[in-house]
Amino acid sequence: MASVIEVCGLAKSFGNVQAVAGVDFDVREGELFGFLGPNGAGKTTTVRMLTGVLDPTEGTAAIEGHDIRTESLLSRAHLGVVPEQANVYLDLSVWRNLMLMAELHGVPHGQRVREGERLLEALDLAGRKGDKARTLSKGLRQRLVLCAALVTDPEILFLDEPTSGLDVVSARLIRQIVRDLNGNGLTVFLTTHNMDEAEEMCSRVAIINQGRIVAIDTPEQLRSAMQSSQYLEAVLAGGQIDAVELEQLPGTLRVSCEGERIHLYTERPGPLAMKVAQLAEAKGLQIIHLCTRKPSLEDVFLYFTSDQVQEPSQ
């Protein structure tokens, strides 16, 4: 599948502070690409460079084949942007906000009216069409920003922490809309530090830390790469097993307990599960719960953004 965003050695410094230190990645057509990182990692700076707000200090990137430095107008023509903070014109009505963005992108009159009405309906804003944006709640403003980005008929949608600080209903609606759009072929570039959101939505993720990409792959592959963080979770009834006994089971790397749940970390959870079952039977204990667990994306994120890890996994 063709790459619609190609980033090559992109870097940005603010004085002596290197916000982004030469990142390389690509985003393929139709992908929902997650860009994860802790606060100050360089996520927003990267997005701002790709969307033409900031000029890179070094390196370059191409959007749909158009260089962001030399063909910035053409590269920006393909984008819809939803920033973290809803930056709508507060003194314009909901409808005027939508039409303004569509006009700035040169969307023909009939199309912008038709799309505007459809989007307001889809994002449950039709009833507020004539209201000034100032009167909208934070969640509704964020929905309006999403409408304004989509009414321009973008080929790539940039979402910078789109659900940060939103109520559950607005956040869920925005996620659903984005998933549907992606299902219809829209390429989405999502920055977030909400791991559940990334895990639920993204087909591929990049993790950025201290301005560098430290990992990039599908969430599944990233989790699998952390073999040593797989574990077996067991809940037993009718007595207790000594932790030392569990640690002596073949394949056990370490054991931890969270309440009644015992976690046995291993690279081979299947055989270890059988050993635990045999041990429980030998001791006359009842197995309430026994399952294998892979590390969550949050575990992966924490692993790669810890200070010890600096090298990319791929």
Binding site: R48, V53, L73, N87, L92, H105, G106
Partner: protein
């Protein structure tokens, strides 16, 4: 698509973008308090302060009043727009659209031009109705108003370039520039009657040329030759707009 048609398409897109900016500015900023205070109330009070108790025939000061009103109104919109948009973070939204920074600034200049030129009709009509002033050369008056408004609006856009945390800081800066120029541009006193040092400074102010054209439009004697004033106003517009593009580009991302 040939290179020529592609270029024409790009120009058309950017011109259209500039026009959308004009519409946006008209909707959002023409009635903002700083524009009304510094663009409308300021010239009214300046005029009253100048006229009160002075034995000058009212019709003689009409051209100065028109030029002064134009000076304040046309240069009032520019200094407000960018700082206001920076503060409300809509500036970031604008510069990520496929409209160039230059087209955005053209839109801001045209907004100031339209605002200034339209509002200058008020002092002209007041002058015609309430005094014995009359228009002798409409072309010079209209030329002075339009070219003057264009150069003043370009100055306003240039003054909006520094990154400021608050629009009021830029409004203060703009008054720091506009007020001294007002006093050396032959508005309150014809340039011929100004002291020598002021006569040397007068040519560096676009207001001097606009005031001169407006003055000759009302049949009063011009200080500059008839071809010099429009030429200088066009030159001022080009220079100020070029400087505005350079500084807006340089400070575009500061404080975002």
């Amino acid at each position: 698509m040939t290179a020529h048609t592609e270029l024409a398409h790009t120009w058309w897109r950017q011109a259209h973008g500039a026009w959308i900016i004009v519409k946006k500015n008209a909707l959002l900023y023409y009635l903002k308090p700083p524009v009304l205070i510094f663009g409308v109330l300021f010239p009214v009070f300046f005029f009253m302060a100048f006229k009160m108790g002075r034995p000058i025939p009212a019709q003689n000061i009409v051209p100065g009043m028109v030029a002064m009103a134009l000076w304040f109104t046309a240069s009032a919109v520019g200094p407000l727009v960018t700082p206001w948009e920076r503060r409300s973070r809509t500036y970031e939204r604008l510069i990520s659209t496929p409209v160039s920074l230059r087209a955005i600034l053209v839109g801001d200049v045209i907004s100031g031009l339209i605002f200034g030129a339209c509002l200058s009709v008020v002092p002209i009509l007041l002058g015609l109705v309430l005094t014995d002033a009359y228009i002798v050369e409409m072309a010079k008056l209209a030329g002075g108003v339009v070219l003057g408004a264009m150069s003043f609006a370009a100055l306003g856009v240039l003054l909006a370039a520094p990154p400021a945390s608050s629009p009021s800081n830029i409004m203060l800066l703009s008054n720091l520039v506009r007020l001294p120029l007002l006093f050396v541009s032959g508005i309150f006193l014809p340039i011929t009657q100004m002291p020598g040092w002021a006569r040397w400074i007068a040519p560096i102010s676009p207001l001097s040329y606009a005031g001169d054209m407006i003055r000759s439009g009302f049949g009063q004697q011009a200080y500059f030759s008839p071809w010099l004033s429009p030429l200088m106003l066009v030159a001022f517009t080009a220079l100020l707009f070029w400087a505005a593009c350079v500084f807006h580009r340089r400070w575009r991302t500061k404080g975002l």
